[in-house]
């Protein structure tokens, strides 16, 4: 049974149809890379998974539950889905450790001591344990994004969603964030990643999903997708990104 399943999902802002009937399923442990031109609806799709956006039609099932149903305990569902934003969105008034501890303490009622220990483990895992008591503004972009990943992992999510996690970073910091993500993928985490890092897609993705105009246009293994995309749109997209 898929851990995420979209069936005929539609989303519009007024007259603008952003998602045009998305059918997509993600299996447990699968790493899916979402590609597509700007405005194709990648962020919107990702944000519908944990109901940061509501949908206009169709259904989504996440971990056996519908994030858009009134009957779902949304906070509990979101606890099981980590979200990493393009601009990190760390809480600037809290230290790195406090950023990571907030949700476990407030939502899961974990004790402060246990939450702190877990935060230190996670910081170890993303390679910056020495930054625990720094403020986010004292960190580089790459370090901030690694903290954001640790923060998302602190809730022990079954799924991790990444919306262009390296797009706001200086080139020399992209690698350190990608390494954390590669490590995470290796540990069996279910991941849906919107990215323009084709190297990451080739190396780590189990499947590449190409979107255009609010539809899933193509869905294939990375080797297959990059060697011979079957649609004209995907071919054009790949030509364009490879020219950069």
């Amino acid at each position: 049974m898929p851990i995420i399943e979209f069936t005929g999902v539609q989303k519009s802002y007024g007259d603008l149809e952003v998602l045009n009937g998305i059918d997509l399923s993600v299996a447990e442990g699968e790493v899916v890379v979402l590609l597509g031109p700007s405005g194709s609806g990648k962020s919107t799709l990702l944000r519908c998974v944990n109901a940061l956006e509501d949908v206009s039609g169709g259904t989504i099932v996440v971990n056996g539950r519908d994030p858009h149903s009134k009957a779902t305990n949304l906070n509990e569902l979101r606890s099981g889905v980590g979200f990493v934003f393009q601009h990190f969105n760390l809480y600037p008034h809290m230290t790195v450790a406090q950023n990571i501890m907030l949700a476990p303490v407030r939502v899961k009622k974990v004790s402060k001591d246990a939450a702190r220990r877990r935060a230190m483990e996670l910081l170890e895992r993303v390679g910056i344990p020495e930054k625990a008591d720094s403020l986010p503004t004292q960190l580089s972009g790459g370090q901030q994004q690694r903290v954001a990943i640790a923060r998302a992992l602190a809730m022990d999510p079954a799924i991790m969603l990444f919306d262009e996690p390296t797009s706001a970073l200086d080139p020399e910091m992209i690698q350190e964030v990608l390494e954390v993500m590669v490590d995470l993928a290796g540990s069996g985490m279910t991941m849906v990643v919107v990215t323009h890092e084709m190297g990451f897609a080739r190396k780590v993705a189990d499947r590449v999903v190409f979107m255009d105009g609010g539809r899933v246009v193509e869905s294939a293994a990375p080797d297959e997708f990059f060697a011979s995309p079957s649609t004209e749109r995907a071919q054009e997209f790949l030509r364009r990104v490879s020219h950069i």
Binding site: N50, L52, N75, E76, R78, S79, V81, G82, F83, F85, H87, N89, L90, Y91, P92, H93, L102, A103, R106, V107, L135, T137, Q138, A148, R151, A152, M155
Partner: protein, 251 residues
């Protein structure tokens, strides 16, 4: 030319204790109004930035509150609370348990000043909340925090820091506005100065003393607020050291 002045009417008892008593009343009024308007202003701001469709009537009501109380002169509001509201038996009965400590005039003044100041604090905080990037609330919500928890833990602390220069100015205004309550019979600093004047005819000395006490209170408050602002803002915006409240004398 000043040798006809007799400062002893304000420096010695009974004048001195009159003034100190008046200053104490004014200070209590200021502190209580500041605390009250922070609480009420925060609740109003939270209500106004809410997005739940079911709360639309509340939002309408709160925006009417803010517009109304910011557009009626404070003196008129104080007269309304004191001579209007506190003429009602019900209101007097509710206030009765407090009367051993605070007179009805004081309570009416406090109520009026708090409700008036709250409208301004609410507006300042609302714009502070709106200056907190949207991604902050989203990140907290994505972590599983409920809306109110996310507001309390993530958005409000930042909003307060951002809005504190403006809110601090309202605190200073509230302190200065305490002087208006004399008009409804509160025995505040200005009232006591007037008492001294009518007993001694030393008008210049009496009112100068009131003036000096007010300046000292407001400057001290302004310095304290500047310190708080610096502490709060440097955390979320390194380098933001300049955005302190305007000095008391300018605002």
């Amino acid at each position: 030319m000043f040798n006809d002045l007799s400062w002893s009417v304000v420096l010695d008892d009974p004048g001195r204790s009159f003034l100190l008593h008046g200053a104490w009343v004014s200070l209590q009024l200021a502190v209580l109004a500041i605390i009250g308007s922070t609480v009420v202003g925060t609740l109003v701001a939270l209500g106004r930035v809410s997005t739940a469709p079911a709360l639309a009537p509340l939002r309408w009501l709160l925006s009417a509150y803010v517009e109304f109380f910011r557009n009626v002169p404070l003196l008129v509001q104080l007269v309304f609370w004191s001579f209007g509201m506190f003429s009602l038996d019900l209101v007097r009965a509710v206030a009765a348990p407090l009367n051993p400590v605070y007179s009805n005039q004081f309570l009416a003044g406090l109520l009026g000043l708090t409700i008036y100041t709250s409208a301004y604090v609410a507006e300042a905080l609302r714009s502070g909340i709106q200056s907190v990037p949207r991604g902050q609330l989203e990140a907290a919500r994505a972590g599983g925090l409920g809306y109110w928890t996310a507001m309390r833990a993530v958005v409000l602390p930042q909003a307060f820091a951002l809005a504190f220069p403006a809110i601090g100015n309202q605190y200073i205004s509230a302190t200065k506005n305490t002087s208006v309550v004399m008009a409804i019979g509160v025995t505040d600093l200005v009232f006591q100065a007037q008492q001294i004047e009518s007993a001694t005819f030393a008008a210049f000395e009496a009112y100068t003393a009131a003036l000096v006490i007010f300046i000292v209170i407001c400057l001290a408050e302004s310095a304290l607020l500047a310190l708080i602002v610096r502490g709060m803002l440097t955390r979320i915006r390194p380098g933001a050291r300049t955005a302190a409240p305007a000095p008391a004398l300018e605002s």
